[in-house]
């Protein structure tokens, strides 16, 4: 995902689930349709929560990776 320039960066480190998902949801309308949020969380629960939120709201998780002790998401606004 290094070739993608995010429209918004979210630092969700230290937040416990479901707050990482809540913050992504609250901020998705702050990027244009087709825009991308890069979010970094530390709660392992976000690895299932954020993709589930994206699927159920019709948005797209372009990637979800564990990097060291952090979970890095690229979320694309679809609608």
């Amino acid at each position: 995902m290094s070739d993608v320039t995010p429209d918004l960066e979210l630092d969700l480190k230290g937040l416990l689930c479901p707050m990482p998902m809540v913050r992504v949801s609250q901020n998705i309308t702050n990027v244009p349709v087709g825009g991308v949020i890069r979010a970094v969380a530390t709660d392992a629960g976000s690895m299932a929560d954020i993709p589930a939120w994206a699927k159920s709201t019709g948005n797209e998780v372009m990637s979800a990776e564990k990097v060291g002790g952090e979970f890095v998401f690229f979320v694309k606004r679809i609608k």
Binding site: L16, C17, P18, A44, G45, A48, A52, W53, K55
Partner: protein
Amino acid sequence: MEKQTIDSMVGVLDARMNRQLKQYMDICARCAICKDACHQYVATQDMKYLPARRAELLRQIYRRYFTKAGQFLPALYEAREPDENLMDELYESTYACTGCRRCTYYCPFSIDTGWITSVSKGVLIAAGRGNEMLGQLADAALFKADNMDVFDEIIVNGFKDVVRELEEELGRPVAIPVDKQGADILYVALAGSHSIKPAAVIFDAAGASWTLSKFEAANYGFFFGDPAKAKLIADRFMNEAKRLGVKEVVITECGHAYRVAEMFYEAWAKEKMPFKVRHILEVIDEYIKDGRITVDPKGIAEKVTYHDPCQIGRNGGIYEQPRDIMHAIAPDFVDMTPNRETQWCCGGGGGIVAMEEFNDVRLKSGGKKVEQIKATGAKLLACPCENCRLQIEELSKVHDLGLRIVPVMELVAEALR
């Protein structure tokens, strides 16, 4: 508003109407004693947060469609046909309510405003005015549970990471059983490891036969106000408990999740569950009293206080077990005043921490809790509810309290011998 929408709203009110709700609709004496009981009204002096006003909005619809006087002389009998203004007022009053039910405790007629707001939420959902964020969180939980073929590996790998982290922290292995047929306990945690680690250490120390649920305890269908969704979310771990044949379901330190599982689920499911439901603090208290775990009576040397979450305290009746636990591990435990039935809500319940639009009232309404905490002089707060912890963490930052806020079970794990 369109007739079809109004019919749908009235249909929900009709379906939820029972003797209890009818009584609440008919008997308010407008004494306004509830104004001094509500943390939101006390903090804002705004009528829309007055418990009697929250109920009155639903009563206006009730009178219009369920009473003869309201049907024929609506203006005289304060009956009101729903319009966008009424729906705006109902939305703000209803979704801001944290469901703490302190007003019910003080009401001379015990009018249950929490129950009334749950019906108001149903009416709002019928009008397409349910809170969007809570609806999304409920749908995401359902999607995750319905697509376990996709998420199972992610969830189980997350559990394996917790086992590795625990071994690094403790220098010894602690097992986290999953899908263990015939275990005595199904422990239902939250999505993050913070609610799994201390419980695993305590179960391990007690030699308990347990297994960890793959589903989380949190239930945003309940906060959203849709009992059907709330039941579907809780179905996942209740069905898992039946499949594994456990003797009891133990809910983590999460107030509303305990209440859903212990107080509402059987009524929603219309069946008696073949196991009991307990809060983790009831289990830990029993372990200490039965000698299944040994704790250092001076394990927590620092001055510590305890917050009664509304959902397990006033609404759940669990007051003494957490205090007995605290007395067993912390010689400098100090209670807040008031406490137990009359404790102040922290302002973070009912899903309000996830609804950005209520941030102002949420933070203002935490003022009473801030005063209570300050008066104890403690910098360590034991708090057995995730929503309360989120709220009090923020209050601590805003008011520069310098608090360390931890689950009770984390302190117990720290004090284990």
